[in-house]
Assembly symmetry: C2
Homo-oligomer: 333 residues x 2
Amino acid sequence: MTTRRRMPRQADIARLAGVSQAAVSVVLGGNRTVRMAESTRRRILEVAEELGYVPHPVATRLARSRSNLLGLYTFRAAFPTDEADAYHPILSGVEEEAAALGQDLILFTGTGGPQAAQEAAIRRTRMADGCLFFGRHVPEDPVSRLVDAGFPLVYIGRRPELGGRIPFVGADYVSASAQVLQRLLGLGHREIRYVREPDVAPSSEDRQLGVLRAAPRTGIVRLEGAQLPVATVRGWLAEGVTAVVVEGTDTGTAYRSVRAALDAAGLSTPDDLSLAVLGGPPGVSGFEVPMREMGRRAVRLLVDLVTAAKSTPQQLLRCPSVAGSQVGPPRSG
Amino acid sequence: MTTRRRMPRQADIARLAGVSQAAVSVVLGGNRTVRMAESTRRRILEVAEELGYVPHPVATRLARSRSNLLGLYTFRAAFPTDEADAYHPILSGVEEEAAALGQDLILFTGTGGPQAAQEAAIRRTRMADGCLFFGRHVPEDPVSRLVDAGFPLVYIGRRPELGGRIPFVGADYVSASAQVLQRLLGLGHREIRYVREPDVAPSSEDRQLGVLRAAPRTGIVRLEGAQLPVATVRGWLAEGVTAVVVEGTDTGTAYRSVRAALDAAGLSTPDDLSLAVLGGPPGVSGFEVPMREMGRRAVRLLVDLVTAAKSTPQQLLRCPSVAGSQVGPPRSG
DNA sequence: TCAATGAGCTAATACGTATTAGTCCGGTGT
DNA sequence: ACACCGGACTAATACGTATTAGCTCATTGA
């Protein structure tokens, strides 16, 4: 094996070209404010080429306080074992936009592990110029530390925590949900139920808010566990319910459990009941979450923050509505 | 917005604790070779805690020449738009093992782009302690530069290029393929065909080698385009062929085209013909490529290289064989 | 002839941490 | 009284690059 040679540095070039290290830095760094004779510039470039010089990214980063490295903190595996990964499109968008903006990505590992490992990973975050966060929770303590220190970070998903100081790119679930309900009302539905997941997260609250804003009389059904009892579905029919709206999440549990219960009750959509999902799989009636676009926008926002340190912006993206085939006029309508 | 405060550094702690920066480094770095009074140590730790000190990873890296950062160079998007990603298990294994070994990952973007962008990304590779490469091609020039400089890198997949100087973790396609053919011979098959993809890559050659080693009389069929003519399949029957072996790749094109042709010819497996895939989707007769394990092993090897700079090791992993249901005794056997 | 100018370059320093070779000091042994 | 030792710490330097202030020298203008 070839002996492990040291990579050449600017000082090596300087020696061979008979100039100072600073001169090398100026020329190779493309610094136009310092004037250099064309001959010197060429000599330096030649020697650099000859030695196969490549700037040491870490040193550059230390000197410049900029590395074109964005962190990615996922609170779980970025490449989960489970093939079907609902968040994949977000990451795909992140990667795409990062490439377009000339940024590389640091994937912090251990973000899905025990508390201590998570916090350690959050600290390492500072290795990058800024960091994308990505998950339902906000570990307030370490994150507020970062925010306080002015470290650029962007959450994917709306984050009201820390007094609204967290920059984020989220989806406008309120409007999108309201729109779905308006459509149902427009079709003549009056007795409607909204089935939501049991846990509390901004995204859940936003949907419910939108639902009630458009149709205040909607009955809220909170799922307990992964199963929806068939009795509940039968009850709906008895109460004259004609449409059901379901919270869509990454796992899609709510949607699946409702579908299962409907099937078990022998009901078909949209004939017996209209069914809409708030942020569901593509093609299903309701609306889609613009995941890919969220990823892209988050990267753009983060780069903005890194370069300009603007005041904390918080963006909500429109969710395109999906007609689908599971929504129709009410039965007795 | 909070004004952007500077993060505290060791010098700040030193001032407040009335010691030198070196003392702070010693205590916080857990350096046990330099003795420190217990009282001093505690004072430093207290001040550090109070200021919320977090070591600056870039500076640490520069000083230590070690950052616990591994590069990941994919020659394509790491999060491809296409949901069905055959390489996903490899990346999953990489992430898992990296987490276990306390390594973060740098995803170099633009690796799927134009030549120039690719080479630039290869250069940036040096930002990490070492780098995983991952793809069918080897851009010899930039890669040999890295190898020559002693930069630790590991390819995923066997790489005979550069005079065998590239460390890699591959799969032992030769043995696995031979084993599949032996099984067929054992069942009584004598007239066998091997359908391979048109391009040349070590992984293709290895399979063919294994096939011919076990059953030298096997006929080689090289796919042209994505379709296998039904006539070819009919021809096999006429020639007394009883088993077909297909090269399995990430895209699975060969397998699908053979299946399509068999279906079109109205043939069923294994009644009319036995069908084995060399590295196919899970459950199909033939063998599986231990993708996840390859990812894990590659990380381990890379970390070994980073820490010890051993001589270039090249590992081949066993491919577990899969019985499946598409292989049986020959029809007239 | 001398100050002013500007081109072309370098010395010095910063970035934040790790490490090595000491220094200083009080105690011990003779 | 002096060498010696070990404990506790620090000064200095390295890591590799970027930046800024300032130096030198030749040319220009009066």
